[in-house]
Symmetry: C2
Subunit: 658 residues, 2 copies
């Protein structure tokens, strides 16, 4: 054990294990999580060379094998609770992805949700047994977030009782689905349904892609890998071009909408049913943002405690780089953010489970709010977490740039969340739509409830209009007061956006152009709303914590989170008159004090995340702090070092070039 | 040609070619640049498969071969002017790096600068002929920016007239030098010189690493590749452990410092001589920031003109994504930034050449200012450009995540500049040291000249202290007025940092701790200073432009750059009383107008950068806008598609898994 890191742990002022229990949701959950983790870690089938040393094709081949083994083992161990599966997969994956993920996460659940009982019988068990390996093919080369734009067609032919599927243009080729390129033999394909001369919009069809015997693509199916990406090296994201591919009528997912034998179309009872899945996935992503940032902070903070560099006082030994105020200012607010997002993830998960209960009983009333919240928070957390991972990486200096730090892997695999499952700017604008609608309702005299109740007229009248008209009451040392300030900032920025739309409308532009011409303000309003929600939830979490030591350190983190957000967005707070200029100097001063206050607990706070070395797979983030020996050992395994002299080019003109 | 992009070009209001000449520095330079580019592009030896389809070892092997060929061809074509070599290399490299780069960029120049005439004779011609392939080994595993911390030793043994080189600890192993792992047979090694029982600090030694015949490492030399990184896949960044390696006395670089045969040490005449190289490299990096961002903007803006998505008006065709205000707000300020950095790069280059003239005549007077400026601007531009590349990538949606966009390559290879050649935070603090020193001189009554003259007492007294004490005079439509506002902001933030140090000193902490406890403020001050310099230089550039159309569009860009910087840092401008709250709303409104105003010229503005398709190597950034066909063609070449069915694992338990 590196003596520097040992000393850090000795200096902590709180019980790490207790904080871990809070993060897990209880002592029993910590215990079970560790059991599951040790199943993966001790499994000889899952030991492998660092994926960074393999070519992409090798990575894919290794990943398919492990991915299938994982599914078998989950059954062998009887792990079936979704949370436990998630836990198992998290350890198993480390910082990477797996080609069978969409089979588990989209193909099987879509069958469960949308297949008729007969279809379940035909497809579910074979899929469960991995006879059928499926993916979910929605995105097309020319069409992403805007689903109505999808071009793939499924035209019903009553003569043969089949659907004929086609990719009519190059832009209609399915593009991106994970596992589509080489792994899957089936796909759920989203296509525009045509029957009896009419288009009924997007519906889902089960399309066999490859022979169940030979795995060769079926006639009319042009399928392959879309090539290397920023990350996701292990996944065969694929393309799919359909050329008059015929499937039986029974391959349309018919739990809700139906096409009868003669081609008659039967509408689904409600369009809101598919909302739930999106909300669920976006909520999961919020938790992932906390997870990715927590891992990155663990690596950067542990490394900062063992790395010595430069000098603060001339002639003294080189200090730990964590002693530099600039390093603390980079890392500690991110540490606070990681905690915040973990708590927000917990909250989203609870709300989702509560609301799905209501939904299954036909009560959709809370869905719009949750939908709006999950969209905005997905964007808000993934953007800031992505930036934060890179800050952590660069805070490790040159060694952060090495793949041995794991930070490049964490970044490239996480940053995709900014784009998939709803591109972030589009997500922010969805949340803005809900906020503006709520604002207009409040303006019309309706009393709002829930998270947007701050938009109610009565409250808005109490808001400050400018520096001069109202004395500032924010107390920068009081978290509750800061939550209030965030709330008022959000209210103000929603108002600014709404007024921008009104002004545009007065210029006689259309409603749509007025919206687009106010989009910058709308995104800004959504951002402020999400920021408020995060600060509020972090503050609320403190109320649940009984242990004094833990409560104290988390309170410091929450205050740091709130104050740093104010400093970074000081223009908003000054502009809306929520803070005065002298108060802003106070904020700066208080931030420095909080950094110094957190310094002794930094390593303990990342220890509490409880990521084992196998999950981090980072030489810099090792629990024992013995960084350099292992970096040297890791480097020597680099494929370029297999021979002392590479057998490469010797130009005729340069016979002396080795 | 895609009709969307043709229409964009038809709508431009200025002459693209004229702007290209301005960027190149004249019509003749444009012509010569294009000649050099076509040499590379038409060269059959340089045609190769997309590097993204190769394993890292294959990439290295291909790169070494091409790198050596390039050097031969430069001689064949008689290209020897540094600017022309740089141009040739830029095209040759595309978005990648090359293993022989340090040989050309560090090994040969260091010999030129520091070798004695006898050493030149022994080493330079063999190095020029690639008999000797060298690198520059400074950084150690445990020591980066702080040179005094380096541990490698070179101890003089007068008995044999040799130096004995050692890596006494694991942290002293040389780590990171490019080309060190497998390519080089020599290295210039920086080591602590010990002679006659005394240490004389860092000196440079030429150390043979590998046999000139077999390329096998020499006795005592442990050398290899440090493993895969975020980028730089083609480069064998290496490690070097020296175990009692003996080199002749004549292998110490002795143009300045010397060790005589008996071990007597002779001091160098001036320590400032090595400053120049650092300043030069950092100035180059500023230009590279403009270059990387310009490439990224070219890709994202061209793609945004051909990509259609979602709807603004219901029922209308999907609009070009560049019509979304949010997309304009992401990309156009970055486009303005790319222009700004290109102009700053030009300026730095001119200043460097002017000052090196002075230096060679023994006049070092301007060096501290240039050193401070190059440090800060290196950090300022690389941070913002790195973030900007990622914004461009994400603005391309899912396809930006594909390696076919080239944006991942541009990012991973560029972002390293934030860390190498002086870690950015350290650079900012170096600039701050100069600013604080200047501030203190001004406070003591000295009259400052040059870029920091705004810190003079007389000017500072004219600065606003608070909103109330002074009416705001900034005109948000006037660039000169905005430059003034940036200047006053910098002055204010330097003052804030200086006062923080004073306050700390009043608490009786040491000078060094006071500095560290003010580091956040110091970095902020440097940032503001650099921002001011960039805005000022952009404004100054406009004065040189005669063509009305070009002048008009560049003026719009400059205004956008200045106003967006104010919006992003609105807290600073409000806090210092430079802007009022109503003016900030004006800034927001004006920004939206500028975006709309730039919209018709966006494609023409990236065309003016004049990157040929071969240099961009991006399917999304193609000049002809025919994105989708080529994306499909590119994907089909993915190595995973070599066979329809991959020959992978069939577990005994899952015989049905293809």
């Amino acid at each position: 054990m590196n003596p520097d890191i040992t000393r850090e742990r000795e200096n902590a002022t709180f019980n790490v294990e207790k904080l871990t229990h809070i993060l897990d949701g209880g002592i029993e959950k910590t215990k079970r999580r560790r059991e599951i983790e040790s199943l993966v870690i001790s499994d000889p089938d899952f030991q492998s060379e660092d994926l960074n040393f393999l070519s992409r094709s090798e990575r894919y081949d290794a990943a398919v094998k492990k991915s299938a083994q994982m599914i078998l083992k989950l059954r062998e161990y009887g792990i079936s609770d979704p949370e436990e599966i998630y836990c198992y997969k998290s350890v198993f994956r480390g910082n990477h992805q797996e080609p069978l993920d969409l089979h588990l996460a989209m193909f099987l659940p879509t069958l469960l949700n949308q297949a008729s009982p007969e279809q379940m019988e035909t497809f579910f068990i074979p899929a469960w047994n991995l006879d059928i390996i499926g993916t979910y093919a929605q995105t097309e080369m020319g069409h992403g977030t805007h689903l109505r734009g999808l071009e793939t067609t499924a035209t019903y032919d009553p003569a043969t009782q089949e659907f004929v599927l086609n990719s009519p243009t190059i832009t209609s080729i399915k593009w991106w689905p994970g596992g589509l390129g080489k792994t899957s033999n089936h796909a759920i394909v989203l296509a525009q349904l045509h029957t009896q001369g009419k288009c009924h919009g997007l519906h889902a069809f089960i399309v066999p892609l490859r022979s169940m015997n030979t795995h060769i693509p079926l006639p009319g199916v042009v399928v392959g890998d879309i090539g290397p990406k920023f990350g996701f090296d292990e996944v065969d994201n694929g393309y799919l071009k359909l050329e008059n591919v015929r499937i039986p009528r029974e391959h349309m997912l018919m739990k809700y909408a139906k096409v009868e034998a003669d081609g008659t179309y039967v509408k689904p009872p409600s369009a809101k049913l598919t909302y739930g899945t999106m909300v669920f996935i976006r909520s999961m992503i919020v938790g992932e943002a906390g997870h990715a940032l927590a891992k990155s902070c663990t690596i950067a903070i542990r490394y900062s405690s063992v790395r010595h560099q430069s000098e603060i006082r001339p002639g003294s030994p080189e200090p730990q780089i964590m002693d530099y105020q600039t390093q603390q200012y980079k890392l500690f607010p991110l540490l606070a953010t990681a905690y915040a997002y973990k708590f927000v993830g917990q909250y989203m998960n609870q709300v989702y489970h509560r609301i799905t209960g209501d939904i299954s009983q036909g009560d959709f009333s809370e869905l719009p709010e949750l939908h709006a919240l999950s969209a905005g928070l997905k964007a808000f957390t993934t953007w800031t977490a992505s930036e934060g991972i890179e800050v952590c990486r660069m805070a490790c200096g040159g060694h952060g740039y090495s793949r041995c730090s794991a930070l490049p892997d964490i970044y490239v695999n996480f940053v995709a969340t900014c784009t998939y499952e709803g591109e972030n700017t589009v997500m922010m604008l969805q949340t803005a739509r809900f906020l503006i609608k709520s604002y207009q309702q409040a303006s019309a005299g309706h009393q709002l409830s829930g998270i947007v109740s701050y938009l109610n007229e009565s409250e808005r009248r109490l808001q400050p209009q400018s520096v001069s008209s109202r004395p500032t009451v924010v107390n920068v040392n009081d978290l509750a007061s800061l939550v209030e300030a965030y709330k008022l900032r959000a209210a103000k920025l929603v108002e600014v956006a709404a007024k921008s739309i009104q002004q545009e409308l007065q210029k006689r532009v259309s409603q749509e152009d007025a919206w687009n011409n106010s989009a910058i303000d709308l995104v800004r309003a959504s951002n402020a709303h999400c920021h408020y929600v995060v600060v509020k939830l972090f503050a609320a979490k403190l109320g649940e914590i009984g242990d004094t030591g833990v409560h104290s350190v988390l309170s410091t983190l929450a205050l740091l989170y709130a104050l740093q957000g104010i400093q970074q967005n000081s223009g908003d707070f000054l502009q809306t008159g929520l803070l005065s200029v002298p108060q802003l100097s106070q904020v700066s001063q208080r931030l420095k004090e909080l950094l110094a206050q957190l310094r002794p607990n930094a390593v303990a706070l990342v220890d509490a995340f409880d990521y084992c070395d196998e999950m981090l797979n980072s030489v810099l983030g090792r629990y024992d702090g013995n960084v350099y020996e292992h970096m040297f050992e890791w480097a020597r395994r680099s494929p370029l070092n297999k021979t002392e002299v590479r057998n490469h080019w010797r130009p005729a003109s340069l016979p002396h070039l080795y």
